[in-house]
Amino acid sequence: MKMKYLKNVVTLDLNSDKCTSCGICLDVCPREVLADKAGQIVIKNRDACIECGACALNCPFSAIKVRAGVGCAAALIKASLTGGEATCGCSEGTCC
């Protein structure tokens, strides 16, 4: 079962003028958000995007923009309380 999160919140933006349809974004997306439609990359399933930023970082032509970050309430709450950066993984400041 494919679970869906909130609708119409994602910041993903694809600039078709810069895109060369090389397809690296299709390889890195873990959510099948993008698709190759007759040789043109399109956003097929915007609401499935988790804003991981893989496509934007791997696009050699800077054709994709997305505000990447963690979809993690605990990290965001902690960041807003401590003024730090919201990251997952290293909790309790044990790491760096």
């Binding site: 991981c52 309430a73 993984g89």
Partner: protein
Amino acid sequence: MAFQKIDMETVSCCGAVPMQNIIADAPYIIGRLPVTGGEVPLVSTKLTWRDHGGTIKARWDINRMNYLVQPGLYGVGNPTPDSPVLVSANYKMSFDYLRRELSGIDAWILVIDTKGVNVWCAAGKGTFGTEEIVNRIALVNLAGIVAHKNIIVPQLGAPGVSAHQVKQRSGFRVLYGPVRASDLPAFLRSGMRATPAMRNVNFNLIDRLVLTPVELVAVIKPLSITALLLLIIQVAGLLTVTWDMVYPYLGAVLVGAVAVPALLPLIPGRSFAWKGWLVGVIWALLVVWFKGWQWDGLPGILQTAGYIGILPAISAYLALNFTGASTYTSLSGVQKEMKAAIPCMIAVFCLGVAALGVGAIVK
């Protein structure tokens, strides 16, 4: 083989430059392969009880932040200069899940320093990233050991890795491998082609359940403090604490930390806080029903209102915290949800506490 603690100098978190290619003995190292300029440890593809024990502990948040493998180049099988190079995080669980899939395969494993954090979370932070891969390739002298120019990076590392920049800076081409290590043998057999199924992230019941212990452990600390406070109150003779008083709250915690993650797709609605609140309301109503309260008198009504305010708010908060463990939430979505949910939670929680307080006085 004697277990030797990994030299902390070489794997320390910040700053220290790891020594090149000197990898200390570890229980999973079963041999050493001489290569140009040193030797590469060969690792077993069989997990032992010790490895499984470590995984279970990490799942329960025991030693999870210090469960690591020394970064460097390793091998499985009989790697040759033509064997593929697989990149891994240095979280021991990531490393174990990779090597156990490689029986009968000859390959190199390039373990990069992610401070003991798994691939996905480290990629989000950028520690599983372009910089570390480029540096590690140079440190282990990869170009002097393999005859090709490809490295296979787990796809979930892509949020931290820029393939074209790695190529530009190291000469090595990044091939994104499957999401799950279990698909690696098929990926390698098919000439490094990932099927769409290999590129997708699952989040099934088992995926979710293995994550719930960490959520539970996270609430054990506040629960222990609460238990201690109750004990003090009890001993001081201020109040007789009974199971009857405690179980509604304990249940609300379990609802948020275990039941909601397990039942996630079955609970209507998309917001995690909403899902937690909804199941929390059902729990609160059950509690009211178990207690067989009267609805006509004011004290009864106030206590009922108190539980319906407090218990779902606890569940909702814990369910909201599961957004980080899930695989399908986005930053923008969680921010939107928090903006709406957190003030509501605080409001109903406070109203609930007020109702219970007034109820106790009226009684």
